[in-house]
Symmetry: C2
Subunit: 241 residues, 2 copies
């Protein structure tokens, strides 16, 4: 890639704002740090074969009736009747190895649904930060990071992860940003850089998870580069790239 | 006000996101730094009697036919058939003194429309930053800053102005924020603090205005504390508090 043919890297704060970006990007990177996309990365690291993301609890339930391992999370908690939600630790289970898993979550599976028509849809978190950046740098494509947010509102942790990806790509000299949301994400990542957990301590979703005793999950989800897997959406299923 | 009865100061990035904040706040502070709310502040500083904000060009035109001074701006430019748009300098005109003026703009009048049912609706910009903060500190009310954004997308300059207001209020010890958008606005303002223009140089709307040769407007709009006027919405009209 030459400097003359630089590609765009932009940040979209919420699934609701994606309409503005929809038609201009080949690659969509879906981010839901706490915890859906972190859990998906962990699942592939620990050997699941595929993950079928579904937007509703009803669809997840139908799969479960058919014998699938199915997880469902709403508002940070496992939905009644399901065995797991979106804690990354649920997926570090030998029984899940080689299996096809179904998952619905409050925010993350919604943004996968919004992104699904793009040429390439990837799943990112702090856990696979370097791996996903290195792969994207090899492509000559325009990229948008789609933050899942919280019930279609801005959230800090997804924005900072998107800012981290942007910074890494822009630092190569082959990518640039034009949107104010992308510039803000980069500044917020710079403020956060020295201490991920410290910066996000004040975030509303972290407080929500702390109340549910999920601090261990939060710490894991904010630790960069635990895996080199890159989950990609193929025919409605997430698989390892 | 005692520390035990602290009030909230939150930041909403776009008019489209206001639904989430709508019912929880007594005071809405509408911000459209480049340039609607800056122009409105300048207009009152230079002696206009009232400003009637209208959402559509058609409504502005009807007022014009009735003999009102009517301004209309879309995408940074004066709409054909109108004499002025939202350049603050248009309002520094002796002919406007004591007059009732009608105005429609791309983003700013839209957020005034979204906010209009709140108990108190104020207009803020960098131009009246200290004045509006000092007045709000006297009230015992929950406050939300409503950024006008750009066509319902996040923008930097409004967010940073909202971050400046938040910081001033929180520093008194009598206000607090809980939303991630508010925390982000405060961090972005901290990054911007040393050099307003420098930080916003990269913003997309500033680039848009630069192309239209509106650098003089941008510089004026980013200069804090040029006036102590506080425009307030009363029965559909903006007047001086």
């Amino acid at each position: 890639m030459s400097k003359e043919t630089r590609k765009r890297i932009e940040v979209c704060f919420t699934p609701g704002g994606f309409e503005h970006f929809k038609n201009d990007f080949n690659v969509v990177v879906v981010i839901d740090v706490l915890r859906a996309t972190s859990a998906i990365c962990a699942a592939f690291e620990y050997g699941v074969n595929s993950i079928i993301p579904v937007p509703t609890i009803e669809e997840a339930w139908e799969y479960k009736q058919k014998g699938y391992l199915a997880g469902a999370e709403r508002k940070g908690q496992i939905v009644e009747g399901f065995d797991f939600g979106n804690s990354p630790f649920s997926y570090m289970n030998p029984d899940f190895k080689g299996k096809d898993i179904v998952l619905t979550t409050t925010n993350g599976t919604k943004s996968l649904d919004v992104a699904k028509d793009a040429e390439i849809v990837l799943v990112a978190s702090f856990l696979n930060l370097d791996a996903i950046c290195n792969w994207i740098i090899q492509q000559q494509k325009d990229v948008v990071c789609l933050c899942s947010g919280w019930q279609d509102n801005f959230n800090l942790e997804d924005t900072i992860c998107a800012g981290a990806i942007s910074e890494k790509l822009i630092n190569t000299g082959y990518f640039y940003s034009t949107e104010d949301s992308s510039i803000a994400a980069k500044y917020l990542y710079e403020s956060a850089k020295k201490n991920h957990l410290g910066f996000i301590k004040s975030s509303s979703h972290r407080r929500r998870l702390k109340k549910l005793n999920l601090n261990k999950d939060v710490k894991y989800c904010l630790t960069p580069n635990q895996t080199s897997v890159i989950p990609i959406l193929k025919d409605g299923k997430l698989v390892k790239l």
